[in-house]
Amino acid sequence: MEALLSRYRNLTVLLVVLVAQLLYLAYQVKTNRDERLIRVWAVSAVTPMAGMVEAMRHNTIGFMEDYFILLDVREQNRKLKADNDQLRMENVYYRNQLATAEHAQALTLFQKQTPSKTVAARVIGNSTVGTAKAVFVDRGSTSGIEKGMAVVTPEGIVGKVVAVYPLVSQVLLVTDPTFKVGIESQKGHVHGVLDCSSGKCIVDQVQNEEKVAVGEWFFTSGEDRVFPKGFPVGMVASSQTGQGMRDIKLNLSGAPGGVEDVLVVLQGVHQPIPASAPEDLSASELPAPPPEKGGEATETAKPQTEADKVLAKYAELGKQEEHVYGAVGSSIPNFNLKPETPAKPAADIAVPAKTDSAQPAGSEPKPLSSDTTKANNAGLAVQSAAKAPAQNSPAQNSPTQNNPAQSNSTQNHPAQVNSAQDHPVQNNRAQVSEAGVLGGRPSVKAAAPAVSAAATAENEV
């Protein structure tokens, strides 16, 4: 035996090494454990060099000394840039709030949002293997980063933290095939799932009937419990009726592959799902986002086939001619008289606020009522909330909010309530002092954002 081993020593060593690695692999797969120790070592060993490489990239070759001299300036610069990003992002959020909730509430909530909610980080390396897409960023657990946190830029979402080391974190990019993000269109509040598994980013799970226009923006919906609601995701590049589901292609606004500086969203509620007790899941997840304006209307608009349209057309014809079908004594109908107004498909009638951005203010309180009911159901009782003046900018062309009719009905149904719920991040704190907050805030004369401008507007800041 010994002779055999020594004769085939090479082979034996090979097999031993292979088997060792296979066993190790099997152990990992079977226990589903991430081998932290080895990774920590490797990452720690590589990170300083990575930082240098990154620095080299930032500086012209041969100016290493300058780097050290200018370190302060650069650091300051970087801080400013981070602050700037922070502000831009808050601006985005703020605009969103303006678009979806009462100004006063939005402002209060905005103030409640502490600047420390995010931490700026720099991408220091790719760790792309095959189709898996991830990057390293230069902040780790010492900066308070935890696994599962969302990573964003003011322009758009980037990814989520999948591994945290003391000084470095690994961020899985949204372009990774396994990554799915719950998103929502800005105008129609059409919900979908961002899916980049095919190489191109598409919005999945959107029904053909839903209206999604090219150029429309999608924002995170908060439904995936990773990204807080309201971060820009991307703009619709194409939207076509597809097989069963609508084919929507999205241009990501965050350019996840090419970003350098990102913000990691730190928030206590974001924790990985505990492995053991499913019952406790809800406690460790972000709360579900609140019902969305207009969302209900989508569901109440009954889906139709052409049969329904034909029926609606004839019903309309009958009405116009005051003809009661099949009734004794009714006049003979004439089906060849052109109806004065073409019969609209019921979907359009039912959800005007969703689809028709040119809707004059105050003409259509309908969608709100469904909304308020829903909010009531949710048990969100906030009184003076609605009185918070809804200042309408003339530029406001979103019919979703802020027209007089709507503020009226908000008064009746204390509903708009809790825009805090619109943004799960703020939830914890915002609810505490709701009443005071709502009463105390006078009008905010911020320009209401044009629909879809919110995400792009940060350039002006």
């Binding site: 991430d34 080895i38 590589v46």
Partner: protein, 181 residues
Amino acid sequence: MSETGDQILERPLRESWFSRFQVVALAALTLVSIIGKFYLPRLIPHTEWLELPLLLTVYFGLMRRSQIASLLFGAFVGLAEDSLSPANLPIGMYGITKTLVGYFAASVSVRFNVENSAIRLVLCFFFFVFHAFFYWVMRRALLGQVIPFDPQETFVHGALNAAVALPLFAILDRMRLSGSL
């Protein structure tokens, strides 16, 4: 038979290598190659195809000629690479692949004139394709993951890597000969 094969040839080689190929320098090279793999694409876009760790393993295998040393080196490089891969891939995939690459590279080195550029070119190409294919097979067989395998792309990348390997190997040769390595 006991006197056949590489065993008998190793002693003088190893000595010469240990005298010149210092372990530290080797480790530094390894680190550079791995960092290169993960950070080069950030420096120079569209260089994801470059497999520096693989080329280094092949070079080590071809020049070192010791199967054991090569496979251990391959395993080390591969595991280091694994450690830096996205956290949702288990460690060991590159380790196993590169172990085999190191072993085979050392094995074939006795049959070819590894100083010959043409042979180096072919071997690098071959090992790249083997590496890519074997990695794909491992992902599929061991992890049950189906990732796309594009032979055409693999061949192109193999050719590119082989092309990079030539000057790289020449530089390494020079470093080795000058004794700095």
